[in-house]
Symmetry: D2
Subunit: 244 residues, 4 copies
């Protein structure tokens, strides 16, 4: 029943920082998408990438039809994502495609559209320590994780995080500077599963860490579509039972 | 602490059916909004109304600022609601304004925007019996209700209902024709509370019933804003704790 | 990551009706446990059975240690289950063993202990039609199910069902006599997953139906333990961070 | 509709530390119950107290019948609470009595019985700084609270906290030593509302703080019973609808 076989993943990236900023390019020479794609391929997934500056941002109907799980990284160009493409992605998620939203993707059109809320938060970029505590140890997304994941240098995100109450809360972060944050959040929307995962940054080398990539790998498997029931909506003129 | 005093309610209505269709006008001669407004005034709320064909649909910033709880009825003209006004209503809900979405309002821009999902369902309009069972008997919204509310003639709405899992499920409907439906659903979004309540129709005189109006009265009180914590979002450059 | 390989299932049954009552014996000549065990074996699980009148009810520490998922059928002898054994089962569930509670098992010591609530409900045994509607079509438990499962003759269970709000609601039942019921309910408790599934009866041949057995098969796979994070509890005298 | 008028509160305390230990007596000379009772009385509630060494622990049927909200402090003598009294309290909660469980009460028979889980956690008693962040700013329990409550010296409680996913999560704690904890948790059980609130200690003077007492005051109002629907359970031999 469960998602056996290979999961087809599309890693989407704005891909701007890496081309415009030397410091970022040094950490992710081929872009954040390439780093994530390589890591997921090594872990057995079938991966392609897509970026903002491709036609339709690389997210055509065909591309999405061929995607089990979409991984989303965006940061400074959320507004440049076409409304129609954002709506298309949202529709595919509701039809069953999995979605992983990473770090600053909390402010993407796609995530805000699916949540219906502000998705706002506190932030501070001084490179402090973060410790992501597992608060739901039995969740498949934390398979193989220790009690916590510790990041020596991270951008702080703090509460209140403007999201609906997660359907499952997996991680809560502790920050050296004194804040906390719900940093691993599961949502069920339509036939799709969504995981928001906080870690990530364009200059701190967080997506080169085995523990972080292991969680992303697990989350891809968790979010992969499963078959469910066959249902219909719309007008059903004939009652099943005889009426009086 | 709790919402004592008077709650200020705005009842919003498309107000089309009642002007265009004799059968509807007979049931709601001054419009559905007038029937609901009178009922809520009699029950102690401070009520005004607004309709689609007023400037800004009667939902200017000032009007929403003065509203504790907005009641929404729409059916055949969802598309004519201006995107900007729909976004404004959504923002006010996230800032704390309560929202009651009635019957066919499940397909309004405002509700779909706040849910992030299709909000689709099955339907059949043959006038069959509906019984709304209370599944959360301790909820303040069902204060004074018996085990169920029975409607002799109703339009059927059937599962699957394309919404996020409600934060609290209060009613589930049984239909004579053989279907079931989650017909009273609470959602917390930002600082606002949302209640979706299924009963209502433009020709069945459902909003003249004391039991249905009693639930709507309770839901208005439940959705009225309460004071909460004072919080901030955005950049907080200085850590609370000293960093290493 | 997900539960591949074989799931080890223990089907537990009171096994009283079938030995004491001819009508029941005719439907389940070797007991309800045998019918369920055969069906789950045919569907690829590794199954053993246990019954009330065995020593320790067949649920010794060793037996539970060797069980991935426990299926529970009880009806008229809930009180005869030893408190210590019930507590042992509860502990194993919290440590990760899956649990399927069927039909009248809602009133078992094990289920009531895990829920903390009355688990009470309405009931009527006249053999009326039941239709279990899928309300969460994307859930793995309803893989392969149509929009609903229809049982021509069933005992009615009606709301209010005295349980905590399910973590995931999968089925809601319609009954010919006019009631509704949350009939497929998922709960996460500790490291364990629990599924309450309403269908079943000692004289209506419900566990000979392919659609019902298909759901039970799916639920076994869903409830099978997955690896999660490694965690500790208890006293941790040394702080991770230096204190002021 | 909402709980206007006076709420009747019973503050329950083990009342052992305060009589046996000079350090504790200095902080709470008349017992923790007296400190809490005075504070709640000053805030407009009608308060009585009860302690472990009274007959039936001061929690007779009559005493509970007269209680809207029970506040529970226990620490070192959980085992001395009579099973029958614990079951009685649990039953009253399911029938609608509110319950506030403070600090080490997480390990009381009453709380464990209502949760059905281990209720275990990490702990460290070295007097470090705790900061309780509001994660649900619109919740009535945090009315009047700032973004966080800061305690200069507290016992640490750390995740994983062995509870069911709270129905509403209000506070998450940051600890100086590096841990996090879900420190304000709402649960709906039967007709009753339960709030677990972490702050409190027998030697740190936490229940003399205005901010902590303000939250407890709010929580008492939130947990006070509201009228809901009238329902029945048990056998209903006659169907509402005619059967085929």
């Amino acid at each position: 029943m469960y998602p056996p076989g290979m999961t087809t993943v599309t890693v989407w990236n704005e891909y701007r920082h890496e081309r415009e900023n030397d410091e970022v390019r040094e950490v992710y020479p081929d872009g954040i998408h390439a780093a994530l794609a390589n890591a997921l391929e090594e872990r057995g997934h079938d991966v392609r990438t897509a970026t903002l500056d491709e036609p339709e941002h690389g997210l055509s109907e065909d591309a999405l039809d061929a995607t089990d799980v979409l991984v989303w990284w965006g940061h400074k160009a959320h507004d440049e994502v076409d409304d129609e493409v954002a709506a298309r992605v949202q529709e595919h998620v509701l039809d069953g495609m999995g979605l992983l939203v990473l770090h600053s993707g909390h402010f993407s059109k796609v995530f805000k559209g699916l949540m219906g809320t502000t998705c706002d938060l506190k932030w501070r970029a001084v490179g402090e320590r973060e410790r992501l505590w597992v608060v739901n140890p039995s969740h498949p997304i934390v398979d193989g994780v220790s009690e916590y994941v510790e990041l020596p240098q991270a951008e702080m995100y703090g509460e209140p995080f403007g999201i609906p109450e997660p359907d499952e809360l997996v991680f809560t972060s502790w920050f050296e500077g004194g804040e906390v944050f719900r940093s691993g959040c599961c949502f069920y929307r339509g036939a799709g599963r969504i995981f928001y995962f906080r870690p990530g940054h364009e200059t701190f080398p967080i997506y080169h860490r085995d523990d972080v990539l292991g969680v992303i790998d697990n989350a891809v498997s968790w979010a992969a579509p499963t078959h469910g029931a066959t249902t219909t909506v719309g007008n059903v003129p004939d009652p099943i039972e005889p009426l009086e």
